[in-house]
Amino acid sequence: EQRNFFKIGVITELSGDLVTGGNITKRGYDLWAQEVNAKGGIEIQGKKYPVKLVYADAQSNPAAGAAAAERLITQEKVDFILGPYSSGVTLAVAPVVDKYKIPMITGSAESPLIWKNKFKYTFGTIPPINFTGATSIKTLTELKPAPKTIAIIGSNDAFSKATAESYKAAAEKAKLKIVKFSIVPSGQDMTPLLSAVRSMKPDVIAFGGHDEEHVKFVKALKQIGYTPKALLMHCGITDKAFIDAVGKDGDQIFGTTCWTGTAKTKSKVLWPNAAAYAAASQKAFNNPGDYTQGGCSAAGIAFQTALQKIGAKPGMDEATRTKLIQALEQIDVQTFYGRVKFATSGEFYHANVGLDPLTIQIQGGHVKTVGPKASVEAAAIYPMKEWKSR
């Protein structure tokens, strides 16, 4: 097909249970497209080709995701695909894109499972959670007085459970005493469990969950009146919505991420650094964006870079797409999001391993990087201030 623009399929969860994550993903892709087009498009051999995104809702359902991929590929004849928010949908989409040999980068799905399956045409800009989780635990163990005990709780969905398990592995390695490790059904009130945790007086409480569960978790801890020395959650807390929802109670919560709006990144592609990206996002969505959104924008950049490298024009044939895959495997680019480099073997096959995970903490309503040392913006506040005296 002859076109003077790149047609890009976006498969993500725009309805159903995962609508929040799906929409954050969409923002990331949108912002990238908007920025590219504002510059006139992707420059290939001196000519600029704008990008056009075509959406397909995966309805938080793998079957719909697979159908979406099939439609985008066979009907819309997209050049490549920006992938889903959730790992489940990604796992159903990946075989389809493999079959049609259409490259896909997901800016969000971070279950280790995807990469273990070694799908040839699927890439991801967010490092898998078992790759990032260890950093925060390490940061916490370096605080003074060093925490000795930890309780780890995870919600029973693929991502949250993996998060909890990565914290567990890291805690074991760091010789923290794990006083409790529990997986709970999604969406439940966790007060009784936290009452049990309270009686064990752990120094650290770590929680793997999703947006709404984060809010409930913080409120439940506060209601039973237990303030651990450190409360560690995950990336979701960097979203402005979470900070708004819990207000001052969000302060001093730790999180694991790979990127923040203040990350020290430098880039020649699109946004010069994280701050510029956050500003652009703030302008577009009234929200500085979190690392999922950033990862999605970075997915666009990865494609853009690879395309430029091989000089591929819109309406790619199969041979070009194969070349694009090879190019993606080889890229090593600094973006506003940090370094993007996909692993080409091992358990992280095609996941981005170029990033350095960060430990962050919410301080005065802002996200600050508190670890590892190289990236520190502010000293960690520790131990946490009692809920009561806030």
Partner: protein
């Protein structure tokens, strides 16, 4: 064992939340014989109304409860005739029709809410969300969060008011008569349309107030309804459908099962236990815990 007092307390307080979700729902089922799939959505709308009122006025959401009740009473009052029409149809299976109708409403409401309120989770701040009572002085390691205690008090108050309304007032007599035999109630002078509208209005009003409470205790979001619909069903079936007096016990049982299970067993099996218990109780006593459901 040292955790037991706290486990029981948590369970009872959680039960209080379930009472608030289920009590009015049970009332409408008893009177109108409709399983309202949109119960969670009424809760969700109430929660967002409380959230925005709080945001705009800065006043404590508990102050708005009466306003929210009146507002949603009106909404329920106006919608009831439609539901009545569905349920009194002579064609098809009215029970099923009512269920599918409200199922449609629930989907629509969720769509409307996502459009209007967005997809983020939120929380409603209240003065009550702050403190808690410690029973340490009494020699018990028990903490009672104020807001949950308020929730329990609200649940009990609503239960008592509904009980009084039903059992002690002439209106209640009419409602009960209507629940059992529509034509005969009409013959006794009960205005079935208006009484039905009042009941549905009361139900929607109470559910909306419950939403505010849940927003203060837990969280709110456009998709929150589904989960509460499930628990409303659970409690009402366990209590015996339409058997109001069974609701507090069923709700407390549910709260306690969850709490005990989370504390003493593998928390990840909590819901498995909850659903298995519901299932088993229904098999043993097909009309709920007390065998008094309709």
């Amino acid at each position: 064992m040292e955790l037991l007092p706290q486990a029981l307390t948590d369970g009872i307080l959680l039960g209080g939340i379930y009472i608030t979700i289920a009590i009015a729902f049970s009332l409408t089922y008893g009177v109108m014989h409709v399983i309202d799939f949109a119960v969670g959505e009424w809760i969700m709308f109430g929660a967002f109304t409380g959230y925005y009122l709080n945001k705009w006025t800065g006043l404590d959401p508990f102050l708005f409860l009466p306003v929210i009740f009146v507002l949603y009473f009106g909404v329920g009052y106006l919608i009831q005739p439609v539901i009545h029409r569905v349920l009194s149809g002579t064609k098809g299976n009215p029970f099923l029709m009512g269920l599918v109708f409200t199922f449609g409403l629930a989907i629509m409401f969720r769509g409307l809410a996502l459009t209007a309120f967005g997809f983020y989770s939120n929380s409603i701040p209240s003065a009550f969300s702050e403190g808690s009572f410690d029973l340490e002085p009494l020699g018990l390691t028990v903490t009672i969060p104020t807001v949950r205690l308020v929730g329990l008090a609200y649940a009990l108050a609503i239960t008592l008011i509904l009980h009084y309304l039903l059992k002690k007032t002439n209106f209640g007599l009419g409602v009960r008569a209507l629940a059992q035999h529509k034509d005969a109630a009409g013959l006794m002078g009960v205005n079935s349309k208006r009484t039905g509208s009042y009941v549905y209005g009361i139900y929607v009003g109470i559910s909306a107030m419950t939403g505010v409470l849940l927003g203060c205790i837990l969280s709110i979001g456009a998709q929150m309804g589904n989960e509460y619909t499930i628990f409303a069903f659970f409690v009402v079936v366990l209590a015996g459908m339409g058997y109001l007096a069974g609701v507090p016990w069923a709700a407390l049982l549910l709260g306690l099962v969850q709490s005990i299970f989370m504390i003493y067993f593998n928390p990840s099996h909590t819901l498995l236990a909850v659903f298995a218990i519901l299932y088993i109780i229904l098999l043993i006593s097909p009309r709920g815990l007390f065998g008094k459901g309709v």
